[in-house]
């Protein structure tokens, strides 16, 4: 199509505001058109006269003030008709007070509301369809671990970690658990195409499960507050996902290159509602989603099968549920399935790997000190799980959630570094996940009395001083700083996101604006609130940053020394698992209790 130069009149129908028109004028001139901008505060009659005098092809009127907008614009259309120019000149209106439906109602050719781009206005002038600068197709999954070589700057810490890891590998070498056996059975169940073999494997699997799961396989009984999803519901979901995908044009949260990837966490209980929430978050710019399973699932030996919904928090892990969620994701969405606690850690990682998850989550120290699983059991299971993660090339984060129990950061970090080093030894790609939170430690000791910046910054500085590894702050950032107030909650999330970005971390998990509300399920609107807040914060700070005070460096040094001391005490103790029971990585006084689920279930091979 040949280029047709247009003569455009831009007129602010407003006492003062014309910044939008100035930007459009520049865009039109850049595109090769003639643009004439009238000053603000012209009367409607003067604007009509200018249209006639200049013989323009297109008029763009802006209106920012909302009062009486319909009457004023309605009168403008009447004047244009009376002057005989309505049919000859294309007229568009835009500005803060304009909505497309209002423009259509008043008889304008187009209406541009808040958020309209210059390109959109140029497309209108040129009479072509506006094709937004879609990020669909351009948005690609990012490997958080890329560019990190896991070299240790603190060699003393590395040596201590190596000794502890040697001990763990040696300890588990002649041990197994029912969870490990179940995982291998699950692999066979999924592999075989012979139905009778599958059924016999299922019965073998059931023997290794708790009664509630055994009853499902043997008698078809469902756990209370769960139900199977019906075929018609599944069909409706498929339609919903296809339709949503066809109009998916996701927003981008990041403004500067250094802004971290943003993950949301889901686990409404229902895989359908999960999918609906994930699709909404994808559209509003989330880069990844983290699967939360129910707390009872972590304390139950064995997994169910089939499409199952759950009326309480946490979405039941089954192959079918996970597969359905995975299949509904947009290709650019990073997907993590958590396996950091509980009695099904190996099978969770195996399922995640088979289905094609991008990431998983494993931490022996948290899972056994704050997650309720016996330390010995989880250690044996976690080694197997890490091997699966390596087999499927799935990086895993090591989250220090025990900080929320009251364990000081330096102890939680010691546990995180042990599991990370174990992961490296087993061929995995660990991601450090320190918490950005108002933890019991700082509430008591006062490191956040003045601000939330310094101690969080100290954590990152400390980890950077130790090892060149990816960092993904969790989970969610700002934990215990948010209140039920939607604005306060979103702001706290956005500020923590900005701090994380300023510190150059690779990823963050964010809460919804419902983070502090415990009276019911998280609403999708509350998720969008924090995504929008984070996007605005990234826009606000850009490449600039937040400057911590000198306390950050001081505390970073103290945390590093603390980690070293803890690791030394574990080496002296001689056994990592024993150290967990003894409280060297978090004591009962600090709020860490060695878990009891699965105690005494480790089997000597």
């Amino acid at each position: 199509m040949s280029f047709e130069r247009k003569k455009v009149l831009l007129a602010p129908l407003d006492p003062v505001h014309d910044i939008g028109l100035k930007m459009i004028k520049r865009g039109l001139e850049r595109a090769g058109h003639d643009a004439l901008l009238l000053p603000p505060d012209y009367s409607q009659e003067e604007i009509i006269k200018a249209i006639i005098d200049n013989n323009v092809d297109v008029v763009l009127i802006s209106r920012t003030l909302g009062y009486g907008v319909a009457e004023i614009l309605g009168r403008f259309v009447d004047l244009a008709e009376a002057a005989g120019i309505r049919d000859k000149v294309k007229i568009g209106i835009g500005g803060m007070a304009i909505r497309p439906e209002l423009a259509a109602e008043l008889g304008f050719d187009a209406g541009f509301g808040p958020g309209t781009t210059v390109e959109e206005a140029v497309a209108f002038v040129e009479g072509r369809e506006y094709v937004p600068d879609e990020i669909r197709g351009k948005k690609a999954k990012k490997d958080i671990t890329r560019g990190y070589d896991y070299s240790f700057k603190n060699k003393s810490i590395e040596q201590l970690l190596d000794k502890i890891v040697d001990g763990i590998i040696d300890y588990v070498s002649d041990k197994t658990t029912s969870a490990i056996q179940r995982a291998e059975l699950r692999r066979q169940i999924l592999k075989t195409s012979n139905e009778s073999e599958r059924q016999s494997l299922r019965l073998e699997y059931a023997k290794l499960c708790d009664k509630i799961v055994k009853d499902f396989y043997e008698a078809g009984k469902y756990r209370e507050k769960t139900r199977p999803l019906l075929p018609e519901e599944l069909k409706a979901l498929e339609t919903y996902v296809n339709e949503t995908n066809s109009r998916m044009n996701p927003l981008k949260l990041q403004h500067a290159d250094k802004n971290p990837l943003v993950f949301i966490q889901y686990g409404t209980g229902c895989p359908f509602m999960d999918i609906a929430h994930i699709k909404s978050c994808e559209a509003w710019g989330a880069d990844g989603a983290v699967h939360f399973d129910p707390s009872w699932g972590a304390r139950t030996e064995g997994f169910f099968e089939g499409y199952i919904t759950h009326e309480e928090d946490g979405s039941v892990i089954t192959y079918e549920n996970l597969k359905r969620i995975k299949d509904s994701l947009s290709p650019f969405t990073l997907w993590q399935v958590r396996a950091h606690r509980g009695l099904n850690t190996p099978e969770t990682v195996l399922l995640a790997g088979i289905i094609g998850a991008d990431l998983t989550k494993i931490n022996i120290a948290y899972g056994s000190l704050g997650g309720g699983t016996d330390p010995e059991r989880l250690t044996v299971d976690a080694v197997c799980a890490i091997k699966y993660a390596a087999e499927f090339n799935m990086p895993f984060d090591v989250v220090t959630n025990e900080e929320l129990c009251g364990v000081p950061a330096y102890k939680a970090f010691a546990g995180m570094l042990i599991v990370s080093k174990l992961g490296l030894r087993l061929g995995g790609k660990p991601i450090l996940q320190p918490l950005f939170c108002y933890s019991p430690e700082v509430m008591v000791s006062g490191q956040m009395q003045d601000n939330y910046v310094d101690f969080n910054a100290a954590k990152i500085l400390c980890l950077r001083n130790i090892v060149n590894a990816p960092i993904w702050c969790g989970a969610p950032i700002g934990f215990l700083t948010q209140t039920e107030d939607r604005v306060q909650s979103s702001l706290m999330t956005a500020l923590h996101a900005s701090l994380a970005s300023s510190l150059g971390v690779d990823g963050i998990s964010i809460a919804s604006a419902d983070e502090a509300f415990s009276g019911g399920p998280i609403s999708v609107a509350a998720r969008i609130d924090t995504l929008k807040a984070t996007q605005s914060a990234f826009r606000f700070f850009g490449k600039s940053g937040i400057v911590p005070t000198d306390s950050a460096e001081k505390w970073a040094y103290e945390i590093e020394r603390g980690i070293e001391n803890v690791l030394e005490s574990i080496v002296q103790n001689g056994n990592f698992i024993d150290a967990l029971y003894k409280g060297l990585l978090g004591s009962r006084e600090e709020g860490a209790y060695p878990g009891r689920a699965g105690r005494g279930t480790v089997i000597k091979k």
């Binding site: 507050k225 409706a236 359908f272 609906a276 107030d485 019911g520 509350a526």
Partner: protein, 74 residues
């Protein structure tokens, strides 16, 4: 349920300012308001009283996880 209401993904939040003497009255009026609007499953997500009244965020769940969602029929 109205056709429009069926298209709510999960919940309706109503945010407003209620003129009242204290938080207790604010909460009582909040529940009354949601009841009058026809919501059955109601929560007060946020309520803070200062001086003239209470800033509130009220929630009426239309669908909870595990329900049969109206928006999935279409």
């Amino acid at each position: 349920m109205s056709k429009a209401m069926e298209r709510i993904m999960d919940a309706v939040d109503l945010e407003t300012f209620i003129v009242c003497k204290d938080e207790e009255e604010g909460k009582k009026l909040s529940i009354q308001l949601m009841d009058e609007l026809g919501f059955k499953d109601v929560n007060i997500v946020f309520c803070q009283h200062q001086g003239p009244g209470a800033r509130v965020r009220l929630r009426g769940y239309v669908y909870k996880p595990g329900d049969r969602y109206g928006w999935l029929k279409n």
